[in-house]
């Protein structure tokens, strides 16, 4: 992440644009704004940004459609903004290629954290991969297939490790149920959220201090899961 990463914000609410422009500029980002989908697509093509913040409720076109159009030619990270009770749209946007989402209204710390994660992932995609992920007293070594907690190795089954590895490799990003199921169990089991629930419970029991209020293996209600690593 360079100090002058360029962020394109596409939202039709002038107040949100104003607030985001002020805050992000203050945090040393270069900010461009668009209030319509078509305008956003044109801007993204004219001066390719390092990150796009996209509101799903645009007046001229569906935000999900904007995601799909962007993904036709660019892998720039997309962070979508949505409202509560619209889990279906969030999942659809993630499936259409968005990297993460935030539910309005959101705190600015949360937004900045998501922006950092997204920028780091896009940097990693072009550079060297991180193979050791740390989260509190937990260390996941993807290359050596070893998980330790406060220095002691934790025994995981093959499926448990596969699940944890997928989440950890995408640390900070939300992963939809379907993408996790497809990755760990295969296309045929993509609808069996119950598998995921059972294995997540097992993982939390082995890795979390309090499985009922997890610190690393977080649930994204109605959407999926997120692994929260140290920054």
């Amino acid at each position: 992440m360079t100090a002058t990463s360029h962020i394109l914000v596409i939202d039709d609410e002038p107040q949100i644009l104003r607030a985001l422009r002020t805050i992000l500029t203050e945090k040393h980002f270069r900010v461009t704004t668009a209030s319509r989908g078509e305008e956003g697509l044109a801007l993204a093509a004219a001066t390719p940004p390092d990150l796009i913040i996209l509101d799903l409720g645009l007046p001229d076109m569906d935000g999900i459609q904007v995601c799909a159009r962007l993904r036709e030619w660019t892998q720039v990270p997309i962070l979508v903004l949505s409202v509560r009770d619209n889990e279906h749209d969030k999942v659809a946007a993630l499936d259409a290629g968005a990297d993460d989402y935030l539910t309005k209204p959101f705190g600015i710390e949360e937004l900045l954290a998501r922006v950092r994660v997204a920028l780091r992932h896009s940097a990693q995609a072009t550079g060297t991969k991180v193979t050791v992920i740390k989260a509190g007293d937990l260390v996941v070594d993807l290359a050596r297939h070893v998980v330790t907690r406060t220095g002691a190795e934790v025994k995981l089954t093959a499926t448990e490790f596969k699940l944890l590895a997928y989440l950890a490799a995408n640390a900070g990003r939300v992963l939809t149920h379907q993408s996790i199921l497809t990755h760990v169990w295969g296309e045929a089991e993509a609808d069996h959220v119950e598998y995921l629930r059972v294995y997540m419970r097992q993982l939390r029991k082995k890795l979390e201090a309090d499985p009922e209020s997890p610190q690393f293996l977080l649930t994204e209600p109605g959407v999926g899961y997120r692994f929260l690593a140290d920054e």
């Binding site: 509560r84 009770d85 025994k155 959220v193 059972v198 097992q202 009922e212 209600p221």
Partner: protein
């Protein structure tokens, strides 16, 4: 009665022929008995076939029989025989009297006959009308009205095909019902078009195709009466619909104004706090120390969350009202949902004790994660509102057969038994509204969500407090979850 199926001229001629034949037969019989019977008696006997002909075949045949009988009587039985001449004055008198009596009898019988037929026709008409109005009574929609009318019309008028067309209301297409069902209507224009009109104007039309015989005046009259009955039924249906619409509008209007008054008050409270805190921070007159600044900022943050919850509740309520609350079910672990809610409510529950026991081995439950969070949030918020600081809020969960039972209890005051059901109604409060904050929607949203999941929610007074209890089905479309095989060991 004569077979009326014969084509028109034959049936007509046959009636007269039969009258003539009857008189001929009678004449033959009387001729054989002429030595036994006197002239007056023979005249009397002749009246019999005359009356009979009228009764059976109508007035025309009766009059024909009268003339024939007069001639035969004169020819065969009045001296001089076998001529139509009459010598005796007395015989002339007999003949004249006979003829007059015969004609009078046939006319009387004929009139009685036709008024009987008319009475029967009227009775049929009345029966048809009665049946129609009984069938139409109580119908509140134009489709069944059109159907019943088409069926009855076809039965009564024996039309080949007919159609009942009802004028469309605004933004609708016209209702058409034809009989018999499935037979295409003729391309030709209908033989009869009868409008269905009332004081409101034209409501529809009856189209009738019947080419083989024209409508008799009686049939035409009956058809018009049918049409006016149908029109009345339609008008009744229209009025009933308008009344229902008016009631629904009134109800939703009442709800909206209740919602508005409740909401505007609820929205202003956090807004007032936010406004006060924000303007304080902006004002250059006071130099706030760090902790005061922090408090003001925290107030803005908290009240924003409060506003967000309010708006969420309002949206949920309007979805429940519109029947648009469709749970996005997935197999979920209830402990995870409860854990998430408690983590988010940690700050507001700080001053109460929370005692949560969700067993490890609970089966998965098919629910909408976000909606269930809403249920727990609302039940806990409600418990916080009505119980003093320092008391305990308890959450207990257990599976029982194919049902998951969840109990959220608090140490609040008991609610009068007669209010226990009503606390889930919109805007219902046990306590006076100005003493407790809230829109009065939380519990009714819980009820809406639980019921959308095929479950049930109720409230109970406990010996030491008050409890909300809800039951959720543990099966989804009749099946339990498909769990992975036992976890493999490395």
């Amino acid at each position: 009665m004569l077979p009326s199926r014969l084509p028109f001229p034959f049936a007509f001629i046959l009636r007269y022929l039969l009258a003539v034949l009857t008189i001929a037969g009678t004449t033959g019989l009387l001729y054989l008995l002429r030595n036994v019977l006197g002239t007056p008696l023979i005249a009397l006997f002749y009246l019999l076939p005359v009356g009979l002909s009228t009764a059976l075949w109508g007035l025309g045949s009766g009059l024909t029989a009268s003339v024939c009988a007069f001639l035969a009587f004169n020819y065969f039985f009045i001296f001089p025989y076998y001529t139509l001449l009459v010598h005796e004055t007395q015989d002339i008198l007999v003949l004249v009297v006979f003829f007059v009596v015969a004609v009078v009898i046939s006319q009387l019988v004929g009139r009685a006959q036709s008024s009987l037929a008319e009475a029967q026709a009227r009775e049929r008409e009345a029966t048809h009308l009665y049946e129609l109005s009984t069938a139409l009574a109580g119908l509140r929609h134009k489709d069944p009205i059109a159907r019943i009318m088409a069926e009855r019309l076809r039965e009564v008028f024996g039309a080949h095909t007919l159609e009942v067309v009802i004028q469309p209301a605004l933004h609708e297409i016209s209702t058409r019902y034809s009989a018999p069902v499935g037979v295409p209507l003729p391309k030709s224009t209908p033989d009869h078009v009868i409008p269905l009109t009332t004081a409101r104007g034209l409501l529809g039309e009856i189209h009738l195709w019947r080419t083989d015989r024209p409508l008799s005046p009686a049939e035409e009259r009956l058809l018009r009466t049918f049409a006016s009955q149908g029109a009345l039924a339609l008008e009744r249906a229209l009025l009933a619909q308008a009344e229902t619409r008016a009631q629904v509008l009134e109800e939703s209007d009442r709800l909206k104004s209740a919602l508005l008054s409740s909401v505007s008050h609820e929205l202003r409270t956090p807004l007032a706090t936010i406004k006060a805190a924000a303007t304080s921070l902006r004002s250059g007159e006071v130099a706030w120390d760090t902790s005061a600044r922090g408090d003001l900022i925290a107030a803005i943050d908290d009240e924003t969350d409060h506003l967000n919850r309010l708006v969420g509740n309002l949206l949920d309520m309007s979805r429940i009202e519109a029947g648009a609350l469709k749970p996005q079910r997935q197999w979920n672990i209830l402990a995870e949902i409860v854990g998430g809610v408690l983590a988010r409510m940690r700050r507001v529950t700080e001053q109460h004790h929370l005692d949560v026991e969700v067993p490890e081995d609970l089966p998965l439950v098919p629910v909408d994660y976000v909606q269930m969070e809403q249920v727990f949030t609302n039940l806990i918020s409600n418990s916080l509102k009505y119980t003093p600081v320092g008391t305990t809020i308890r959450i207990r969960v257990r599976a029982q057969a194919e049902v998951l039972l969840v109990q959220v209890s608090n140490q609040g005051p008991p609610v009068p038994e007669e209010h226990l059901d009503r606390i889930f109604d919109k805007f219902y409060r046990v306590t006076a509204a100005d003493r407790v904050t809230g829109t009065g929607l939380g519990l009714s949203i819980c009820k809406g969500i639980i019921e959308a999941h095929g479950g049930r929610i109720w409230a109970e007074n406990l010996p030491d407090g008050f409890a909300f209890i809800f039951a959720l089905p543990l099966t989804w479309e009749g099946a339990p979850p498909r769990l992975p095989a036992e976890p493999e060991n490395e």
